[in-house]
């Protein structure tokens, strides 16, 4: 009869424990508190703990970041450091760079923490947007506050950005969004619906205390309503002679190219809009299907929800690239001279901006960009 000795039991137990550790270490699917893989939004939770400086683990990483910031900033192309998450949702040291730095330029880890490169572009003082809201001396530049002259209803006035200039049938038109210029589709709170021939004012009512009399009519609505049936949120208004610069110049951007460009992931972009002025970001996604809810007039009720396809996604952390009132802005390449149009900005959240590809917009309108 075999007797089970204590020493044998200890050997077997240690082998089982060792095997369990090996299996878990080699396992492909690491435990992730949020399954599937989460994004790298800094507002996320990790293991049920909100990422904030109140948490010791986060503070630990910021201390590592602080110890190494000077040496990281000495690397050409590095414009900043931060504490954040890597693609696996693990705490990491972020290195902000002006442009993509190639392999070997940055350490892969610092004190055991992963290092993640984030291409932000050059960090600049933010344009407060003030120049984009004032009543301009005619002829006005684009990238400015504007809207439907009668966009006042239910105790509120509304507006957005007159973003750029397009050419259609030999005539110049201001390009903005449907929801900025033509979305009042019920008599509702103002006994009006947006109609072809209605005036477009600069600045928009939101910047002249809702008093249209202090604005200036710069264009008239075309009446081409892109929504809800098409796949673009676009509207054009025919320029009133002498009121808009015929070169299509955009505040802080200048004149653009008449040629457009398709978006690409990682592409650096900029825009000039009423609320946040001149801002920069990068394209983070393509071929987006996104659902957007529209109202039937300013501060009105629900009109319809539109699902767009094939849209461009742009990083918009903290609404720094695009915010309320910037709708209608033209998104262009982030280059100094004659940038090409890439998209028409129209929607977003505090982390994400969405643009119609400019090719889709121009195709729907039967128009081309006014530019060099």
């Amino acid at each position: 009869m075999a007797v089970f000795f204590p020493r044998r039991a200890a050997i077997v137990a240690s082998l089982i424990v060792t095997a369990a550790l090996v299996v878990s270490g080699c396992s492909k699917d690491r435990a992730n508190p949020l399954s599937p893989t989460t994004g790298t939004d800094l507002g996320a939770t990790k293991n049920g703990i909100t990422l904030s400086l109140a948490h010791p683990a986060v503070r630990g990483v910021t201390e590592v970041q602080d110890r190494h910031t000077a040496e990281l900033m000495a690397i050409q192309g590095v414009v900043g450091t931060a504490t954040g998450l890597d693609a696996n949702g693990e705490l990491a040291v972020l290195v902000l760079t002006e442009h993509e730095l190639g392999a070997g330029r940055l350490p892969t880890t610092i004190e055991g923490l992963p290092v993640v490169q984030e291409v932000t572009g050059r960090i600049r003082a933010m344009d407060s947007g003030a120049a984009h809201k004032v009543k301009q001396t005619v002829p006005v530049q684009m990238g400015t506050s504007g809207g439907w002259r009668y966009d006042l209803a239910n105790g509120y006035c509304c507006g957005g950005t007159l973003g750029s200039l397009v050419l259609k049938g030999g005539q110049q038109y201001v390009l903005s969004n449907y929801h900025v210029l033509e979305a009042d589709i019920v008599s509702g709170g103002n006994s009006r619906v947006a109609t072809a021939g209605d005036p477009v004012v600069q600045p928009g009512l939101i910047d002249i205390s809702c008093n249209a009399a202090t604005g200036q009519n710069v264009a008239t609505l075309s009446g081409i309503k892109s929504l809800p049936s098409s796949n673009v949120d676009a509207a054009i208004a025919q320029v009133v002679s002498g009121m808009v610069r015929t070169d299509g110049s955009i505040i802080d951007v200048g004149t653009i190219s008449a040629t457009t460009q398709a978006a690409a992931i990682g592409q650096a972009v900029k825009k000039s809009g009423r609320t946040t002025g001149l801002t920069r970001s990068s394209v983070t996604g393509l071929n987006a299907t996104v659902s957007v809810a529209y109202d039937n007039e300013c501060a009105g009720g629900a009109a319809f929800t539109k699902t767009f396809t094939g849209q461009i996604v742009i990083k918009n952390r903290g609404s720094r690239f695009l915010n309320g009132g910037d709708s209608g802005s033209l998104m262009v390449q982030d280059v100094t001279t004659s940038p090409r149009a890439i998209g028409l900005l129209f929607a977003g959240s505090s982390s994400t901006a969405i643009a119609n590809p400019i090719g889709h917009v121009l195709s729907f309108l039967g128009a081309s960009m006014v530019g060099n």
Partner: protein, 109 residues
């Protein structure tokens, strides 16, 4: 009277068993999936309606991970566990990443 293994042979057998266990566990890590043949854009067109039909999904798009891998990102209005659990880990062979974007709204003022 029963036969029993010597301590040396027992140790050797245990080591062999451990090695076999390591090989079996690590084989999965050595393999990496081949990139899907179907373009992500087509996967989004095909799978999009079903994903968009999940309450709380704001959108989905083709993105790129920091390592250069093409992924499909699904935008959610919140990080609620009950919502996250409904999102598949892969779509059309592409790894899915969750992005808590919040609701996407028109940005007039």
């Amino acid at each position: 009277m029963g036969r029993s293994l010597s301590p040396g042979r027992r140790a050797a057998l245990a080591a062999l068993g451990l090695v076999m266990l390591v090989v079996a566990a690590c084989r999965g890590r050595a393999r990496s999936p081949e990139p899907p043949a179907e373009p992500a854009a087509e996967v989004i067109v095909r799978e999009g309606p079903a994903i968009m039909g999940i309450p709380g999904v704001a959108g989905l798009y083709e993105g790129r991970s920091p390592g250069g891998e093409t992924v499909i990102r699904v935008m959610l209005v919140s990080a609620a566990d009950s919502l996250v659990r409904r999102i598949p880990r892969r779509l059309g062979g592409y790894r899915v990443e969750i992005e808590v974007s919040g609701e996407i709204r028109p940005l007039d003022r």
